[in-house]
Symmetry: none
Subunit: 211 residues, 4 copies
């Protein structure tokens, strides 16, 4: 990559980092280009040098986030030969990802609509959907491996189960964050403990015997 390209990537990255943070804090809708410009310490016009529109910024965050998520999950899967340990690693990776990329996570789990009302699929959307599907596939294979190792109930259809597991986990992760204070007050668990219990509970639904 040339020096010029590297610099461009650097600026795009700075902008995306700020945007990701602001989106996480206030949502994409309530985050204005002015906000991003101010925090990123660029002029508003400069934003438009690096991105064609606000939507492109959002999509860039979603896409890079999804790619990262895929990578993290893959690494977690490969990290342990023991399926149960790998399962924990995968869940932990997902939680960590949520912490660092809430906006992308929202899109990955369908909590944010990825297509515009306009109807025409905007630039970048197809890639996002593709990576989304690749993640599903990754997880489905992981389930198949679990079944092969005797850990997972073999009568569960992998793809469907992945979608269910994935959405259930997404719900738990989201709740653990949004209602953190409430959880602490009512059941006295830190977010991390709550999440751990959460994916243990989900594990029970996948495995042969109550865990």
């Amino acid at each position: 990559m040339s020096k010029k390209q590297a610099l461009t990537e650097f600026h795009r990255g700075s902008i995306l980092a700020v945007a990701e943070r602001l989106f996480a804090e206030k949502g994409t809708e309530r985050t204005t280009m002015d906000d991003i410009a101010r925090e990123a310490e660029y002029s508003k016009a400069t934003l438009y040098v690096y991105f064609q529109s606000k939507e492109e910024i959002i999509n860039a965050i979603l896409l890079s986030g999804m790619l990262l998520l895929k990578k993290k999950i893959q690494e977690a899967i490969d990290s342990h030969t023991d399926w149960y340990q790998a399962y924990d690693a995968v869940c932990a990776a997902i939680v960590r990802f949520y912490d660092e990329n809430p906006t992308a996570y929202a899109a990955a789990t369908g909590a944010m609509p990825v297509m515009q009302a306009g109807g025409e699929e905007t630039k970048g959307i197809p890639e996002i959907k593709r990576v989304n599907a690749e993640i599903d596939e990754l997880m489905a294979n992981f389930l198949v491996r679990g079944a092969a190792e005797g850990a997972v109930r073999s009568q569960l259809p992998p793809v469907e189960t992945v979608l269910l597991f994935w959405s259930a986990l997404a719900g738990i992760v989201r709740t653990a964050d949004v209602r953190k204070k409430y959880i602490q007050e009512t059941v006295g668990l830190s977010r991390e403990e709550f999440l751990k219990h959460g994916y243990r509970l989900l594990l029970a639904s996948l495995t042969k015997v109550g865990n």
Copy 2:
């Protein structure tokens, strides 16, 4: 309630009904006061006679939605003496509620932030939180009943498990809707089937033996 109060309630109700529908269609952010006024056939200024702000309209919808949800869940719990049948009824009620009150559901499951960034808790928020807690309690008791009847693993701490179950189900319901098309294409299940499989899977995590 005096005649005047009744009339006021009528108008508030008309407005809320329209707002709920529009929020469901376009989201709260993209629904304007103009939209609501036009569809409800009031002048925009009149909206401000019955509600102090757009936010109050949103909160009113959330609150009434939560109250309704609580009622529906209570009814479902009471509908069957058999715990397993009651479980199905509860899940079905929740899904139905999501269809009819997506905005309130989003708030009930934490998918929508209920408090303003401003810091000061706006009017109505405490009530919403209270009802939210009451629903959790209702469900916790239902779990306890399940344990008493031998259906639910007794070592599960009820309140915590409810929160987990609740958030997992919320995730599944949301995904089933948002990714309906994707689910149909990849696993060939209708939304209803997918949801049914979903709460059966979650049931397995609660009960003693794989179901």
Copy 3:
């Protein structure tokens, strides 16, 4: 017309009057909604209460201008039984119109493109074109009358001749205005004299014998 409608018309009229003046001074492109709002002493948002867009303001000016022009020409035609006198009256009316409605005049003579680049004919454009055609017809009939009275060379095809005459006159009127100073300096004629000579010259091209 109700009082309300009358008031609305009043406001629309005020806005249009200011816009017409600014368009005349700086052109439609360089006149901003801010300019119009400031001069008309409304807030910018109020402009959007009375007109859906800047384009609607422009079109409204064009249409009302064209209607007025048509009326003035009709009146001029009817003002004298003698064709030559009526001819002078028509030319004078057109000149006067140019003074008062330069923007509409520009559109009427094709000096301003009436359709948007977008392709889709925007609201109001068809009416404008229709009135434009009606004016051409009016003038063609006037020529026919001139021929019947023996004033105009009868071998001239009326519609075509009107288009030519009309565009030639438009050119003269425009030049008389834009190059007023230059004309004064080089030939020592006031704009009015220059114009009078202009339409006398054009008359010569229409009539049997050099005039």
Copy 4:
């Protein structure tokens, strides 16, 4: 001219050629410096090496256009000894010029304001005006020649008549272009035929006997 100057002229010419084309396509206002830079394959900043501002580019186009026009008219005048034939050649040259240099033509005929609202005459404007006057003179002499040859009514004051003729022709040329479709539909004439009829009609106003 030094080699350096020649190179500079080359670059200025490249830029102006592109700008002229774009101005013709979209108008000066809607053509951006970015557009020009992209098409001319220079960086935007380089444009400012060769021209102080967008306005200077516009003026340079106007000036070179006017010079070209003057040359073409001169050639047309000299092309035939017969005045009537020369007249046709002049008109044809003007029409051709319009096709190739619409922006300059607009300025030459006053359809585009040549001076800025700012008041201070920008660089290049005086030259433009001078050439404009020279063209007028050229044409006036041509008229005088016509009178001497007995073709043109001798009582017509040459300079004034040139201005009138010139503006009338400008109007016809412009209309023939802008309303081409309308003309085709209503009188069934191609633009070329319409224009020919146009300058024949104008000829009648100049000559002794109806033509």
